[in-house]
Structures are given as C-alpha cells and as structure tokens.
Symmetry: C2
Subunit: 384 residues, 2 copies
C-alpha cells in the first residue's frame, strides 16, 4: 500500500519523540536483571515492577492510594476492553451501555461478542445523564439490566470531551442505583495539555464494581502493547477467571518498567509540547480553512479532533475525493455504535509531521466544499 501523505486516520504516538536511546538503555538493564525471571510464566497479574510503576502513575494523577495487586497487565488496553466484556457478559444478546460515539476497537469487540449496545447521546460534557437514566429506566422495564456502562471519561475518543466532576458524581450515583458496573476507559488521560485534570471515577468512589482501564500506547508507543485493568476484589477475580493467555508480555513490561522507574512525568514533558503544538496547528488551520462550514472540538488533551461536517455533505464522495488527493481520516460512522452515517469525521494528529498537517487541512477543506450538495449557509455554532 503506498504511503498516504496526509494520514489523519489511526491514532498513534509521535515517532519524533520516541525515546530510542533511553529504551535501549532500559532494555539492557532489564534483560540483565530479569534473565532468570524471563524463563518463568508472568502470572495473570503480570510483571510486579511494571504494576508498581503504573500504581504510582495512577496515585500521582488521582491523589489516592492504588494497590499494585489490583492492577492486571494486558496486551494494550484493547485486551482490557475485550476481557472485561467477556468477564461480565453472561450470554449473547446481553445489553451494554456505550456513548453514542465511541472507540471503534471497543465497538468492534462488543459486536463480535454479540453484545447489544445501547448508545447514549453526548454533549460537550460527555454522556448525557438524563438520557442515561431514561435508558436505564426503559431497560429495567424490559428486564434487560445492562451488564455494564462503558465510558471514555477524559479526552473522549472521538469527541475529545471531558466529563466534569459533577457529572462523574451523577454517573456514579445512577450506576449504583441501577446496580450496573462502570467500565471507565482513561487511556488518553495523561495526554494532557492545559487546565484542570478531572478525577477518575475510581478516585471519586470506592464502589468495588468500578473497573478502570488505561494504556501505555498513548504516552509511549502502541508497539509495546501494554495496557492494564485496575479493579478490586471480587471483580478482580471475575476478570482474571476469564483470562486464558498465561499472562501478559513480561519482557516488554520489564523494559517499560525500567524506562519509567522514576515516574512518567519526565517523558511526558518531552512528548506533550509537540502534541499540543500539533493540536493548536490543526485547530488554527481548520479556523483558517473551514470556519464557515465546520464545527470542531478543541480538546484540552488526547490525540483527536472531532469535526462536524455540513449536513448536506455527500459522505462517500468526500471520503473518496480526500483519499484520491492523499488525505485519510476516519469517517463518523466508524465511531457510531450502530455504524450510522453521520456528518462527522475524526482527525488524528499525534503522529503527523507539522508539514503534513499544514498541507493536508487545506486539501481536506476543499474536498468538503466540493462534496457538498448545496451552497446553503451552515450553522457552525455547535459541535453536537
């Protein structure tokens, strides 16, 4: 497949700040230290040093104590997403609650497991709590108690929203009232550019039904395939009982634990400024090229911009037109829980050189104009 010059598709880390030399040093140290241990199976929780480093990461961000023995190392957060669903599902057709727009990997896993998804509409503060409550009342009437609520609480993918603290408290209260566990995916949480960091749900409430997922793919690199689940007994045992891969990658965990032995802050200080600059660049280019036809998110963290297209856009035409001119993106339908055609697209920017962003956005804006079926003025006041 030829390289696409302006590939705003899959979210990736920035190769420009990949710490090659530090990872090499960490690998040498870890292989020496772990030469004997590498000959053992890692166990279902995984490398203890890695879990200690991640417990520290969580404690420092959230200001609460985190027990490393409540952390389960997984093959990226995608194994975490899938494993939790498998553990909580009782049969095909079980109901789960998701945001109306969510991460395609999660949607694809849930579809494959034959989970029946109920999508809750979003606004700038995330999942709308009145809509969630209405859905739960309706499902209770139909005797379809959902197995869990899946929510990306911070720098949501694809919308970039952050759920405010007050709404998190509402979510906790509603989930408890209806007896439904919350699976909180915070894999973008440490890709933070400015403003306050909202607390994670597990840090606000000690309900043992909460499950928390996180990842190394967004702060270090997806090729290490490291993520984790944070859960308390007995939920922890329920999850581990469904795990059958003899444990996560001990080698990669050992190297990454060594790399982060003094915490994640020093590396984040290197990676975050270029990402913030790319976000600013992308938003400025949208402003210069598409302010009259599009609305978009300007998230205080994460790797994505969510763009609302004019309602009269021919979505199929736009996609093929853009691709023919070297611009790739993910269409809104990829993120919709029922794969509905919706006038949105997502731009991933973390891995792109500035020049690709600078040349790509004007091309995309021209494609949008060409793919419209009218010249009516567009309401660009609201993303939703």
């Amino acid at each position: 497949m030829p390289e696409i010059p302006h590939d705003f598709g899959v979210g990736r880390s920035d190769p420009g700040t990949f710490p090659t030399e530090s990872i090499k040093a960490a690998a040498l140290a870890a292989i020496d230290t772990e030469a004997v241990e590498l000959n053992n199976y890692p166990g279902s929780l995984g490398h203890s040093g890695f879990r200690a480093v991640m417990a520290r990461r969580e404690s420092e961000r959230e200001g609460v104590g985190v027990d490393p023995d409540h952390i389960v190392v997984t093959n990226g957060s995608m194994q975490a997403v899938t494993l939790c669903a498998e553990a909580l599902q009782q049969q095909p057709g079980d109901t789960v609650i998701v945001e109306e727009f969510s991460y395609p990997g999660t949607l694809s896993a849930y579809r494959s497991l034959k989970l029946d998804m109920v999508g809750i509409p979003l606004d700038g503060g995330g999942m709308k709590m009145d809509a969630l409550e209405d859905a739960l009342v309706r499902l209770e009437r139909e005797q379809r108690r959902p197995r869990f609520i899946y929510a990306i609480s911070t720098y949501q993918n694809p919308t970039g929203f952050v759920m405010p603290r007050a709404r998190r408290m509402e979510l906790i209260e509603i989930a408890r009232r209806f007896g439904v566990p919350v699976v909180e995916d915070n894999c973008y949480g440490d890709v933070h550019y400015e403003g306050p960091v909202e607390p994670s749900i597990y840090a606000l409430d000690d309900d043992p039904n909460h499950i928390y997922l996180c990842s190394l793919s967004k702060i270090l690199a997806p090729g290490f395939r490291l993520g984790y689940i944070l859960a308390r007994p007995p939920m922890l045992e329920t999850i581990l009982a469904r795990r059958h891969d003899a444990g996560s990658n001990y080698f990669a965990s050992a190297v990454v634990a060594e790399f982060y032995r003094d915490g994640i802050a020093a590396h984040a200080a290197v990676t975050t400024p270029p990402l913030r600059r790319k976000r600013d660049l992308l938003c400025a280019l949208l402003e210069a090229n598409a302010a009259d036809i599009c609305a978009w998110s300007e998230p205080p963290g994460g790797l994505f911009i969510w763009v609302r297209l004019p309602a009269d856009t021919d979505l199929a035409k736009l996609y093929s037109l853009a691709l023919s001119r070297g611009v790739n993106y993910l269409p809104g339908s990829d993120f919709h829980y029922r794969a509905a055609e919706v006038p949105y697209l997502r731009l991933a920017f973390g891995h792109l050189p500035d020049t690709s962003i600078e040349t790509g956005v004007p091309i995309l804006a021209r494609c949008i104009r060409e793919a419209r079926t009218s010249n009516e003025p567009v309401d660009v006041d609201s993303l939703f």
Copy 2:
C-alpha cells in the same frame, strides 16, 4: 511464598542457557531499526519479520513451504489455544474433542468457555483412533458434531507420546470424513532429543480446516509471550475476526526476530543437550529409586516425564507429603479432561539444576512408598 527446592511443577525453559548477551544485542539492533514502527499498531497478523522467521522454522522442520502471511502472532500459544476455540465455538455447550490427558491451560480455557469436552483415551502413540471414531459416530447420532479436535501431536503434554505418521494419516482421514477441523498444538516440537521427527499434520495434508499452533516459550523463554497460529483462508479470517486486542507484542517480536535472524538451529544446539541430559538423569533416578512401583515415559523430546503411580496410592497424602519435604509436581488430575483423580503425576525438568533432580527424585520415591495403602506388588509393565 518460600522457594520449593525440588519444584517439578510448571514447565519452564532453562535459565542456565538463556542467551542474555545475544538478546541484549538483538534488543539494541531491533530498537534502532524499529524506532519508527514501534509507534504504529502491529496489525492482527503481527510483526512481519518475526512471521518470516517462524515460517522458515516451520519450513525447515517440515520440508514444506509456509506462507508468512498465514501466520498470526499471539500472546504465547495459550492465546492461540483460546482464540481458536473462541473463533470455532458457536454457543456455550458446544462439543470439542481432546486427549483424555492434556495441557491444563487448554482444559481450563475450554471449561471457562463452557465447551463440553469429550476425552479420547491415549496409548504410546497418542489419541487412539478407534476410540476417536467411536466417539464421532456416537456424537453424530446425538447430532452433536464437535467444533474441533484438539491434539498435541508431538511430545504430548503430559504423556510425552509422539503420534506416528500412520496414525496422523488416520486422524486426517477421520477428521475429514466427519467434517471436523483439527487444532494441532506443536509447542514442544522443536525440543527434540533423538530419533526421527514426525511430520506435522499441516505438512501431511492441505485441508484448509487444519489449524496449527506453536510457541517460543519452550525453545526460548515464556517471558517473551510469543506464540503463533498457522492457518489458511478462509479459516484464517474466521480466527482473525474473533481477535480484539489490536495485535501482538511488536517490541518482543522484533527483538526475537532479530535474535533468530539466522534460524533457530544455533540456539537449539545450545539449549537441547542440557535438557536431554536432565531427561536422562531424571529417568535414571526413577529407575534407581522407583522401578518396582512406577512406570514412566521416556519421551524423545519435550520437557516432561509422565509417571504412573501404584493404584493403591493415597494421592492427597502423597501430594502433601511431597510438598512438606520440598518436592512439588503436578498431579494427574490436573491433566484429566474431567479432572478425575488418577494415579499419575507429571515431572517437569527443563528449568531445574541437576542437583535438584538428583536430590528430589529419591525424596519423591520415598513419599510414594509412604503414601501407599498396601504392600502389594505393582504391575510396572505399562504406562497406560
């Protein structure tokens, strides 16, 4: 947990031949080469260089061409075992065929998936084909066509048997006649000490329903958590469609591909002689200490000795007695498809220093004598 001095429990690789310096060199080279690629997701097949090296491994052992694009990298062969079962299962309660004694990881995964296992008796040549055929006839009458037959064809775990070529041909014929896919687990195949190497089922027959599993855990180390599935379309697509972890460990794959860039033979030449010596040592010690009360396998490969105990052994007493004297093993019930109490135990020897074997076997033999409930002579002529 205090260290057990004579731990014949879990099968592990030998830390004494772990190639620390070569792995360090491979890590340095791979991190330099892959610094950009590590920022991408590996895709569902996995690292192409690793797949090429494993295709070569298979081709050289089997004397047939193997397409690297038919190889799916997995998180050890256990993810391969679980993923194939998930892909072939249609509903809870589905029937699968296994050897009467098999790998506990597989049995545990199948139980968790609510697969209904039918166990086929073994003899020194593996799964008995008349018993397999009888079972398939009965299941057909009951309209319960099995989803697949799982067989460890070479240096079977726990029995050490090798299925002879003629029986493999019978298995192929029976599986085709009844329309049941074969899942062949060959994770011990390259831990080979002497005599001919029997061909793998995929090398004898090009039925696109065959699935083949292999591992790096037995030839290198379990801590790398690398295994693979070899399958042809459309079976390959069926398996990939059930995978939801965003791909296997790219970092570990890159390092191991670099380590094995010239094939697996050179490292095997280092690791195999000590393992063969340990097998010989363990068998000689059994001969010297337990020849009148036990029968055992003397497999031409693999990491395990399967020991038949006197029928009058108090199995629970033996286990606690042995553990109290510092000897651990896995009891036969761990390997039985219905967890039946059977007068067998398995000794893993690959990871143990010679001195542990030398001192452990006499202790174990004394424990067996003490755990017997009679002094009747024992028939030690047959392992089965």
